[in-house]
């Protein structure tokens, strides 16, 4: 977990631009990946990331310090993604931008099958498993970004893997 005492101090001194600059440097990629795990499209995730940081810019003077800055920022990020993109009912296929070409030792159909099966998982399991691999398999990071206990992240991962394996068996 990142320590943001320096940003807290800047906010106490009402130096919002400096605080915002530090938060942008530290969190833009993480927020982008969180948005990507929810909206599942790199272009839309980038738009969402802009919306999120714009909201953050407007909200910084009202930060009350009750939650850690990162927790507060991730909450803004999740709420922005859910409220904006739920209404749009976007197709939740894994986008081309986020995917590598299939490896040589697996067939295209196997990759396509797993991709399709992933789309059949409940939203939270899909988000957890995507974020788990985006965040270098760190349960701690995923838990923080989705505001879930680490045990809950693990149980979503287990359910997702079990469901995928059972769907592949069927």
């Amino acid at each position: 977990m990142m320590k943001d005492e320096d940003v807290d101090e800047l906010l106490r001194r009402r130096r919002y631009e400096s605080a915002f600059g530090l938060l942008l440097v530290r969190y833009q990629e993480k927020v982008f990946r969180l948005a990507f795990s929810i909206v599942r499209d790199a272009g839309r995730a980038e738009e969402a990331t802009q919306d999120i940081f714009l909201k953050l810019w407007k909200a910084l003077p009202f930060y009350d310090g009750r939650a850690a800055l990162s927790t507060w920022l991730y909450t803004i990020a999740r709420n922005t993604c859910y409220s904006t993109y739920r209404r749009e009912s976007i197709r939740t296929t894994v986008p081309v931008e986020g995917l590598a070409e299939p490896s040589r030792h697996e067939t295209l159909s196997q990759h396509a099958e797993i991709k399709q099966l992933l789309e059949r998982l409940p939203r939270v399991q899909r988000e957890v498993i995507t974020l788990f691999y985006l965040e270098d398999q760190s349960i701690q990071d995923v838990a923080q970004m989705l505001d879930l206990p680490q045990g809950t992240v693990k149980s979503h991962l287990h359910r997702a893997r079990r469901a995928l394996a059972e769907m592949m068996r069927a």
């Binding site: 982008f32 802009q50 407007k58 003077p61 986020g98 697996e106």
Partner: protein, 135 residues
């Protein structure tokens, strides 16, 4: 170890390393149970797939500039952080000027006393605001 335990251990093995004795017990079970062995192979295949396929996309090079442009288009805050201090200073100056003009004392005494009162008031106000922010 039964199938349920074995499958649980298989799922856990993707997040943390199993202890040596647990691993040996799991391997023995997998050697004897084709059902769990198949489950393990599928989990491995899924893990390899995600490791290869879920690649973090990068923000475009124009991200910062686009965000800055959107921030610049925002209307400026009417209540900037220094406005209360400026208002206090202006109010104190106006009150001091009125006192100098209206009170039957020498201007230098009025300015001196007024400045002390204004400074004390400002300090008290700052103290009060920061203690409220601490709550």
């Amino acid at each position: 170890m039964d199938c349920r335990d074995a499958q649980q251990k298989l799922l856990e093995s993707f997040e943390s390393t199993l202890p040596a004795d647990g691993k040996r017990e799991l391997e023995r079970h997998l050697a004897a149970c084709p059902n769990c062995a198949e489950f393990g192979e599928l989990l491995n295949k899924i893990d390899v797939h995600f490791k290869e396929e879920i690649i973090a996309p990068r923000l475009s090079p124009g991200f910062r500039a686009a965000l800055q442009a959107r921030i610049d288009r925002q209307p400026h805050r009417l209540w900037t952080h220094w406005l209360p201090d400026a208002a206090y200073l202006a109010g104190s100056g106006a009150a001091l000027l009125c006192c100098v003009l209206l009170l039957p004392f020498s201007a230098s005494s009025v300015v001196w006393v007024g400045t002390v009162i204004a400074a004390a008031g400002y300090s008290l106000q700052t103290l009060l605001v920061s203690s409220l922010e601490e709550l």
